[in-house]
Symmetry: C2
């Protein structure tokens, strides 16, 4: 069985590692070079996308910002899973918000802004502070603005206008303005749906972001009511999209309510802990769904966490002396802020996991892991309450 | 960091899968073709061994039957871990028996037979039945004879003599005759030792062989006294060899005593369950030891088992519907009896694991998994006693 992944980053690499024991060969389409590579060796296998499509039994994607021509070509082959529509929805906040409304799932009050009139209307309809996110551009904190005070409104609009003007020509640009949610914490749900409509979800994961980028994810047995609420949202969205594969949903938790922040039609950074904390990891489950193999159990095996390694190409090997600690490098060249790898760690209990996280935070440099220490320390304190 | 593995089979492949997230590159020397390959893509990387040695920071082996010239070349580079002496000991039952005697560890009463006089003496010194194993030839049941009755002695000697005569010229051939042990069960201990002399061992694993080939391994929390006895044997042997890496020891259990059957200076088939049942799998721990990284915890995460897939290149995907069941194919071409892959399965308890093993045995064809059903059924019965 052969699978072509659109995108040749760490997610394709980890899919390939998970797929290898199933005798499933993964090839990855590098949208930068337009070549198809072996994501493990990084050797070029095909010079163009068409050969990759020809080679594949199924096609999937590791990110949602793929140009629509490429998606159309893959969709036309009949091999793309999830569908181009699902991928596009993850890559355009306008479509995403429309989907959330259609599925009647709770999310932040928002308005789509394509011009100054929309912007003015948003200031009237929504309460400050607002967070404004580009409908199309990337993730991890790029193309975002915060508006706290009406006095900043003109300057913010000028920034957004410049962003529109600087964007790709011939594309309809917009931002989505959302009322900022005073959330208690950020959580995400990673789940998987197969072509028969079966769904399975992992336990809700608590996420800590630093400068808009995921820093730490912690998973343990979730509160049953909250988990059921999240699973209901997952099923509505995944069924509406007739989704095949792994889908991640990020939520704001406010009291006992979950508001959808955004969805990602792919394996997700907040699901990397499943490599050692869940019965079947998200990468294997994605490949199982895409290839019509039975879904694997998403049960928690033991409380586990993931720490992102950003912008660093080495960390002290002393961390490997902490039990249940594993390093996952992506083999990428060093660049400030770049996702270079992650650390997974588990514990027999939440308390043991928290203790190991604190030990890790002691060993990792605060400059590179800047909010790690206070966050894991506060997590540990919450547990002892 | 680069590691060259002598041997390019499934063990090198699984080392490569475990090493990849550590950004350690594995190349494998195929002793058949004399080429160095990427064990994941199977692409040829170097045309000869010397380039492989040059490329590597460390060299290790996935099997012990490596010609002595190759071993000498690797040993001379100063990069070989474990040492050529340790590898040779695993590949020659004469050296192995001498090591066991030197370490004063319990093993079956035996005699080394190089000629007819030795054979006659063995018949006098040892009690029947005997098992006779070639000192040098392979494993998995090849080059073995059983002698139950003195009336068969002449025929057995004729067979052994023919085996000597048919063997490689200029090599000193021998068989080791052992008094057959009326064991209660076969168990093995897989452990790891680093260059500083630290050792860690996995829980004792129960093994069931069929026609001399490993069929099923089951690991759960071992009896403490038995585990301590096995760990003591491991430490004696590993320390005597100044061993670096994973080493496996197969035992016969007779009542509460463990008799060493044989040692394997490498990752071992009976340790494959560690891929999902132990804190750190044997492949990662081997690579950690070889590369001077801290050893990972060998603690049991949950009771787990492994079933070998012999001579089959597919099994029903229905098995993937059983929770905690994972398929590991080796990407090899089909040949009768060949180790083609394995199935790992875990349970939260021994009883749950046994139940899943029984479910698997129901789904797998008895013709290819011939003793699986009666064995797992008897295992389940033992637990309920």
């Amino acid at each position: 069985m052969n699978v072509l992944v659109l995108g040749a980053g760490q997610l394709a690499r980890m899919m390939a590692l998970a797929a290898k024991p199933l005798n499933i060969t993964i090839r990855a389409f590098d949208v930068g070079s337009n070549q198809v590579v072996d994501p493990l060796s990084t050797d070029i296998v095909f010079g163009d996308l068409n050969q990759g499509i020809e080679f594949a039994n199924f096609i999937t994607a590791e990110f949602e910002h793929i140009d629509h021509q490429t998606l159309a070509l893959c969709q036309a082959s009949g091999k793309l899973r999830p569908s181009s529509q699902a991928i596009k929805t993850g890559g355009d906040r306008r479509l995403e918000k429309a989907l959330l409304e259609k599925c009647a799932v709770a999310n932040a009050k928002h308005k789509i802004i394509a011009n100054q009139a929309d912007f003015e209307q948003a200031l009237t309809d929504l309460s400050l502070p607002l967070i404004l996110k580009s409908a199309l551009a990337g993730y991890d904190g790029k193309g975002q603005w915060r508006l706290k005070d009406k006095a900043q409104a003109a300057a913010t609009w000028a920034d957004i206008k410049a962003f529109f003007d600087g964007g790709e020509q011939g594309v309809s640009h917009a931002v989505v303005a959302e009322q900022m949610v005073a959330f208690d914490r950020e959580v995400s749900l990673v789940g998987v749906r197969d072509s028969q409509g079966n769904t399975q979800v992992y336990p809700l994961t608590e996420n800590h972001h630093s400068d808009g980028v995921l820093s730490v994810s912690i998973a343990s047995q979730a509160d049953a009511a909250l988990q059921a609420q999240a699973k209901d949202v997952f099923d509505r969205i995944a069924n509406e999209l007739n989704y095949i594969g792994v889908l991640a949903i990020e939520f704001f938790q406010v009291g006992e309510q979950l508001l959808v922040n955004e969805i990602a039609p792919r394996v997700h950074n907040s699901g990397h802990w499943t490599q050692q904390g869940a019965d079947t990891c998200q990468f294997e489950n994605h490949i199982r769904a895409v290839c019509d193999l039975p879904l694997g159990s998403t049960a928690l095996v033991r409380p586990s966490a993931m720490i992102n390694i950003l912008g660093e190409d080495q960390v002290t090997h002393d961390i490997l002396q902490i039990a249940s600690t594993r390093l996952h490098w992506y083999g990428k060249s060093k660049r400030p802020g770049r996702k270079m790898g992650h650390i997974n760690v588990s514990g027999d209990t939440k308390q043991q996991l928290a203790q190991r996280l604190v030990q890790l935070a002691e060993l990792l440099p605060a400059a590179a892991f800047n909010e790690l220490k206070p966050y894991v320390s506060s997590y540990q304190k919450r547990l002892s309450k």
